[in-house]
């Protein structure tokens, strides 16, 4: 019982980190980044690379994988998505076109990583010892990853709440035209928020590769689906929603994993379908 409580919470914390990033990208720039799982995978591979070649501590490698993928996200936004935003006349057009691009991105990212590293599963096992927490045996790396995820999400919350750039992001997600009128440079904010979303995915990937040793170039879509589930359940564009949704999906996932590993994804998807039918805007959507 206690292991379910902790296991679900640990998964939940990591899932919400990915979902917060995805939600930020969608909320601010209306780009549903279906390739978010591949950004995660890239983060995981960077950590694996610096760990296995240079022996860099996986926790330290967060400071390497994060900025690289952040830069990559910004570059992508400036070169591709910015043009789409300019070309599109309505939000719907923008959503469809950016969705198309996001479907094409995994083809590119997965195959580039596949060419460089091959298709075998990799891992950078770190802190694998187990500790006893209130009677449940938990791996240290899971605890560290969950703790870090919560800290990062909290920092993001504070940024959104108090920093100028956070204020600009909230303004754009609530009133895009108005935000532009009061002098916010929306292209700059779009780029930064897209970068931050990619950054969070990369951090999550770097932490997942410490825990699991089954990361391949093709795991991206799997995590994308989970992140999508989280933001659907929590509500698109709602920060608190993705935090709580992350934990809900985390528990649904963990419990079904304990019951029967074959049905985990089916349970997650059924959960999404039920939420969409009963409450389309999610539990915390506007």
């Amino acid at each position: 019982m206690i292991s379910v409580i902790f296991g679900g919470a640990i998964l939940g914390a990591i899932f919400s980190l990915i979902a917060v990033g995805l939600n930020l990208q969608y909320g601010v720039s209306r780009i549903l980044n279906i390739a978010i799982g591949d950004f995660l995978m890239v983060g995981a591979y960077i950590t694996y690379f610096v760990f296995s070649v240079y022996g860099v501590n996986p926790l330290v490698s967060l400071a390497i994988s994060g900025p690289i993928v952040f830069g990559f996200g910004i570059l992508l936004q400036l070169t591709v998505f910015r043009r789409i935003v300019r070309l599109s006349k309505s939000t719907e057009e923008l959503e469809t076109r950016s969705l198309l691009v996001c479907f094409a991105l995994p083809f590119i990212i997965e195959n580039v990583v596949g060419v460089i590293f091959g298709g075998n599963p990799i891992g950078a096992s770190y802190l694998t010892a187990s500790v006893n927490v209130l009677g449940a045996m938990l791996q240290e790396n899971m605890l560290v990853a969950a703790f870090m995820s919560i800290i990062i999400s909290l920092v993001m919350y504070l940024v959104l709440r108090f920093a100028t750039i956070g204020l600009a992001m909230r303004a754009i997600s609530e009133e895009p035209t108005g935000a532009q009128l009061v002098g916010i440079n929306i292209f700059k904010v779009h780029a930064v928020s897209f970068g931050i979303g990619s950054l969070f995915a990369a951090l999550a990937g770097s932490m997942l590769v410490m825990i699991y040793s089954n990361i391949t170039p093709y795991v991206g879509p799997y995590y994308t689906c989970i992140a999508l589930g989280v933001i659907i359940v929590g509500g698109m564009g709602s920060f608190i929603g993705s935090l709580i949704g992350g934990f809900l999906i985390g528990y649904a996932y963990y419990i079904s994993l304990v019951v029967n590993p074959l049905i985990t994804l089916a349970v997650v998807y059924s959960f999404i379908i039920v939420v969409l039918i009963v409450r389309p805007k999610g539990f915390f959507g506007r």
Partner: protein
């Protein structure tokens, strides 16, 4: 063509010519080219079926794999039970294909009633989730209850497979062309342009959407049923593969939404291109395909047909401008 005012020869002649060439192709083409053509027919039929609902109403569905897969599975299961094990009477192939389509029609009616209240990105995700649940349910059912992995189906000759897919694709094309001109097709198109306006002029939008969704799913079921004849084995991961959801949408959007030529051009170019790239580049051809997709979205945001349309208006306005300017030129 088919406007009721007689047949336009400039359009009808090439169509008859293409059909005639495709009909006699098996007499001289190798098995490899026939199988490439079979694949092109599958994508063509799926894209046109997708266009019928999602293209005209702008409700982007990523659930095509669910209907294609169910059609494939129903036909494969029936073929297995009748031809391989004699549990059921052996029916003619068209009847089995019809059965696969009808199962889908009923299924899609039920799904449509619940899902078509959603719009935009929510509908996209919901249909995607449904196709994934369909895959998970069937694999869990096979793993847990029947203890099998997939279904083996009887082998048909490549010629039979070719003609089945050929007839399937062009029957669907003809059906969709006719349907688009009917009151129903126009209603769907209007929903895509403005749902509120459509409701105000008396289109029963809810009914139209559900019926459109179900008919489109039925057509995808036909394609899946026919595809069961061209293959010898199917399991849930193959039948419900995400590419069957993604490609029809991508092909139609790249070809140009809202026209009948769009999905045709899109599916033929992309499937021929990916076949060519996979032969020449091996397993990394998707890398190039992804790059091409992005470049097309950036350079031709309204698809190939949008580009053609733009060029045509530019050309005609340029010609008209010249004519209009001439009289004012004296200065």
């Amino acid at each position: 063509m088919l406007t009721g005012k007689g047949v336009n020869l400039t359009i009808a002649l090439p169509i008859v010519l293409i059909l005639a060439i495709l009909a006699v192709t098996p007499l001289f083409a190798s098995i490899y080219y026939l199988s490439v053509l079979i694949d092109i027919f599958v994508w063509l039929a799926l894209s046109i079926s997708w266009q019928l609902f999602s293209g005209s109403t702008n409700y982007i569905s990523l659930g095509s794999a669910a209907f294609f897969g169910v059609g494939w599975y129903v036909a494969a299961e029936y073929l297995f039970l009748s031809v391989m094990t004699n549990h059921y009477p052996v029916l003619p192939l068209p009847v089995i294909v019809l059965l696969a389509g009808l199962v889908n029609f009923v299924l899609a009616l039920a799904i449509g009633v619940v899902t078509l209240r959603l719009r935009g990105i929510y509908f996209v995700i919901l249909t995607f989730a449904i196709s994934q649940v369909a895959m998970a349910v069937i694999s869990a059912y096979e793993a847990g209850i029947t203890r099998t992995l997939g279904i083996i189906t009887p082998i048909f000759t490549t010629q039979t497979a070719y003609y089945t897919m050929f007839i399937c694709a062009f029957a669907i094309l003809l059906f969709v062309v006719l349907l688009r001109r009917s009151k129903f097709g126009l209603g769907l198109k209007m929903i895509g342009q403005s749902e509120e306006a459509a409701a105000h002029v008396g289109v029963n939008t809810h009914l139209y959407k559900i019926l459109g969704f179900a008919i489109s799913a039925m057509l995808m079921g036909f394609v899946g049923g026919c595809y069961a004849i061209t293959t010898t084995y199917v399991n849930a991961t193959i039948a419900f593969d995400f590419s069957y959801s993604l490609y029809p949408a991508v092909m139609t959007l790249l070809g140009g939404v809202g026209t009948i030529l769009g999905p045709i051009i899109g599916s033929v170019t992309i499937s021929a291109l990916s076949e060519y790239l996979s032969v020449t580049l091996g397993r990394y051809f998707l890398l190039i395909l992804g790059l091409i997709l992005i470049i097309i979205v950036l350079l031709m945001p309204n698809g190939i047909m949008g580009m053609v349309e733009k060029a045509r208006t530019k050309l005609s306005s340029w010609i008209n401008e010249d004519k209009a300017k001439d009289p004012e030129k004296p200065l």
